[in-house]
Subunit: 321 residues, 2 copies
């Protein structure tokens, strides 16, 4: 079975680990979000790609969900001593190596997709990980700074990591997305997929950014195979992260049903909501999307595997319908 | 008193620390060798500049004489795990920060001299450290590889660090030196100097490379102030490093007297040899260079300070003559 998964960072990566457990024989292609990529200290940092790669490759810091295990931060301390910022982005000594190798390969002319493949040669994540695009796309967020009242457009990471989404996101713009082309292999993987899954990743700045690359949304809608998603919202709040902040920016209420409607029946065939949101099933189905209420808390690998199995089961239901 | 010092790495740096002790009120400008600079992992590494900066700024690993104190090597381990070479150059996690900041500033368009000044803003070495040139100069060494018999021209660091100078250097070429211009401030510092010193640095690949930048040798010869050097060779062997290997490549025997003659009386007014080489004094003076035999083993800071004081004393003798 060929499965395509559109993944952001931590939620996507943990779901993927569950999917590998639930369907060990599946041929999985991950289309990774690169909208939260950022250039820091002259290096190209791809947080979501790395979170997927480290998580599936056994190098992730399990507790925080991002960055490397057994990590030190000496380089970062020294950068701060030089007054070289920003200090709010937590790059560890081991993690830096990934960004250095990536940047060196990009400088040598390799596209990000080829670089990602080379990095995965080491990590062996057990999936094919492709960035959504080899072109630069950077999600920016319009905010009003609370102290100065100044309206500014800032990089998503500055909004998410530095400000901890503490102010309202007035707009979320994937800068460069309109001009971006899907990376080699993305459309082919979608066209050849038996199932397409949206993990409980952020519907705006993770899955939404991938869908903003022209051609990807259309390819998924036209693939003619079940497309099933899992709600990142449980009981009207994000399972993790601050998805509600960016949902508000695109005028979507922070509920499991509203996110399904946001994707829409033109894209989504099936949707899983948590059991606490069972009352949403009717509304989602009324929107033309088959819906089931199952436990959606990814508390451990077993829970993630059960969620992945529920998604695959719903996909088979959709296919048989 | 304004003192200009032409410095390589470890020997130059330790001598400078002695000079600061011997002459705390002096205004010291260091013209640093950049011929052993190397690009590694997309980063610009300046080993000699950094050794001077770290040594005078209190950040040096005292035992090995280069690199940072309290250092870790996690980033390097990870690069090796990615198969990204070379592995023979020992970059530590803290040290990497210097190269990252430097590379970022160079990429932003700052010349190396301005970058070095910015890095020194943190380290406060107590001297003005200027690279010999803002232009790229890289010392290359012609060797015959012992296993294959192949003749190759390799970067100085590969010769020095990877091969440990274990094969004969057939030629030493400061690639780019002929086209290089002295960095801003170099010729001015020489013109305004009261004394010019050559520490016991390598006469070929450290001081020799600095002198290979057109204009610097001439400026020193024309400065009209005492130029005094200290022999890096004691008892026919280098005090540290493998200076004999590269002296052979330029046809200079590995003795204190031969090195003085190599610099020549057109450049050098005074020369210090070690007490074990007292018999060389006559030969050096016959070459028109005033010479004294004093202890030249820089075993600690006091010894380095005494050597610096001897050099300044000899300079005053030259001036009074």
């Amino acid at each position: 079975m060929r499965i395509v998964v559109l993944a952001g960072g931590i939620g996507g990566a943990r779901f993927l680990r569950g999917l590998q457990r639930a369907s060990p024989e599946a041929d999985i292609t991950v289309i990774g979000n690169t909208g939260d990529d950022i250039h820091l200290f002259g290096l190209k940092v791809c947080p979501d790609l790395d979170t997927v790669m480290y998580t599936l490759g056994g190098g992730i810091n399990e507790e925080q969900g991002w960055g490397r295990t057994d990590e030190t931060f000496h380089l970062k301390e020294e950068l701060a001593a030089y007054g070289a910022g920003p200090e709010w982005f937590g790059l560890g000594d081991r993690d830096f190596a990934t960004h250095i190798v990536r940047t060196q390969m990009l400088s040598a002319g390799y596209p990000l997709s080829a670089v990602t493949e080379a990095l995965c040669d080491r990590w062996k994540p057990g999936v094919r990980l492709i960035p959504m695009s080899d072109d630069r796309v950077e999600t920016h967020v319009a905010v009003t700074l609370p102290d100065s009242g100044e309206r500014r457009v800032i990089h998503f990471q500055e909004y998410w990591v530095r400000l901890r989404a503490s102010v309202a996101a007035e707009a979320v713009v994937p800068v460069g997305a309109e001009q971006a082309k899907p990376a080699p292999g993305v459309l082919e993987a979608i066209a050849e997929a038996d199932v397409i899954l949206f993990p409980p990743s952020n519907p705006v700045v993770s899955v939404g950014t991938i869908l903003a690359v022209p051609g990807i949304r259309e390819a998924i809608a036209d693939a003619g195979v079940p497309v099933v998603g899992l709600s990142p919202i449980v009981g009207d709040a994000p399972v993790r992260g601050m998805a509600d902040k960016v949902l508000a920016a695109v005028g979507v209420e922070s509920t499991a049903a509203a996110v399904a409607e946001h994707y829409g029946s033109g894209l989504l065939d099936g949707w899983l909501v948590d059991t606490v949101d069972a009352s949403a099933v009717e509304r989602v189905e009324a929107a033309g999307i088959r819906c089931r209420a199952v436990p959606l808390m990814m508390s451990d690998l077993d829970a993630a595997a059960r969620m992945a199995q529920e998604a695959l089961t719903l996909a088979e239901e959709v296919r048989g319908a």
